[in-house]
Amino acid sequence: MNIRIKVNGEERSVDVAGADSLLTVLRNGLDLPGTKDACEQGECGSCTVIFDDEAICSCLVMAVDADGSEVTTVEGLGSEDDLHPFQEAMLAEGGVQCGFCTPGVVVAGSHLLAENPAPSEIEIREALSGNICRCTGYGAILRAFETVTREDA
């Protein structure tokens, strides 16, 4: 089946097979491997994307059901030359260790900042509670939030 979705601002058309997830289609059909594939059961958050204005796990979206929707992946947040402020802050604070959770953290974090530019620490921890970092680098990620919210202020 063919679906049309707007990905990172661009109208795309892609073939999907059966019940394949949006995650599979983003990575394999649309050549956007920034969104990471880990647990495939919505537990780890590494596949987080913005789907019709909500941060969700793309592994839990059936790709055929995404027809007509709008998706932003980590590739749509910034480019190497023009990083999102939260990406800059993650670099500055060393919020990246192995890097596998990072795209999901960056998408969930930027979504929080878009909705709430001055989140409290509790709100930050809550917004990231669905993103699991097995390097346990949460301290540096929280410091990245401090940096970016301070700069915005």
């Binding site: 997830s21 495939e40 059961q41 919505g42 958050g45 839990l60 059936m62 059901d65 669905g130 993103n131």
Partner: protein, 268 residues
């Protein structure tokens, strides 16, 4: 074989599709179905998506549409349900998962189910052929992941009695704070008719601790002795099992502790 897929535009559309394909699987937030697809290599042959059915998302005090997502229910209108919604999965899961999915899946650990039991709510179900029927929760939940729904039916809402107690407290025990399936969950309501105590993950279906309710509601003052006895009866009354998540003994203990704590909290 290619999968047949219907993106229902409205409820009539969804009901017509379900009448035509009673074996089709319903897709809402995908938080259960897609896990089966991804991990159990489940290959559905027919799927009807309810995501675009706006009617199912409507929420009022007396009627909670089955398509209401947890992120919506966190905002109210019912305190205990909002507390339960707040403990579902993670923000990503709450932005996708729906109360109708929780009800339809009927897992003993469904976070929304103790509230439904404490509220004495009913499940509204519709089919194209027979119209609407409203099933009390005790008749709806029949076993572990088993309900009395028929193949051509769709859950349309949770129907809530209008005399619901204002004091409502939910809590669950699990191995961590976020992204956890409950080991035991409990919801206590306090109104002029006394306490209502519902529990999850301690029986094949959500249950009310009827004997413990009768015991505590017969007392004029809630002393430490009364609370001890209440907790003991709750622990006796639940019917948990030992599985990969916990043991029968721990679940009995935790059920008593949780119920007691929530009675104290709701009496404040």
């Amino acid at each position: 074989m290619a999968m047949e897929f219907v993106a229902a535009r409205d409820l009539d559309d969804a009901l017509a599709a379900k009448a035509q394909q009673p074996d089709a699987e319903l897709l809402a937030g995908g938080t259960d179905l897609m896990v089966e697809v991804n991990l159990a290599h489940h290959r559905p042959s027919q799927v009807i998506s309810l995501r675009r059915v706006a009617e199912l998302r409507e929420v009022t005090r007396s009627r909670i549409g089955s398509g209401a997502r947890w992120s919506r229910l966190e905002q109210g209108p019912h305190r205990g349900l909002a507390q339960a919604a707040r403990t579902v999965g993670s923000p990503q899961i709450r932005a996708a998962g729906t109360i109708g999915g929780n009800v339809g899946t009927a897992s003993p650990a469904g976070d929304g189910l103790p509230w439904i039991a404490a509220a004495d709510a009913s499940i509204e179900i519709r089919s194209a052929e027979r119209g609407t029927r409203v099933v009390p929760w005790r008749e709806f939940f029949t076993g572990v992941k088993r309900t009395s729904i028929q193949p051509d039916e769709i859950i349309t809402a949770v129907v809530v009695p209008d005399d619901l107690p204002e004091h409502q407290e939910f809590a669950k025990v699990g191995v961590r704070n976020a992204m956890v399936i409950s080991t035991v969950s409990c919801l206590v309501m306090r109104g002029h008719d006394g306490f209502r105590v519902a529990l999850g993950s301690v029986a094949p279906t959500p249950i009310r601790a009827t004997r413990a309710e009768q015991m505590i509601n017969a007392e004029s003052t809630i002393s430490e002795t009364v609370l001890d006895e209440f907790a003991r009866i709750v622990s006796q009354e639940v019917k948990p099992i030992t599985d990969h998540r916990s043991t029968e003994g721990y679940r009995r203990h935790a059920a008593g502790v949780l119920a007691r704590r929530l009675v104290e909290r709701s009496a404040r």
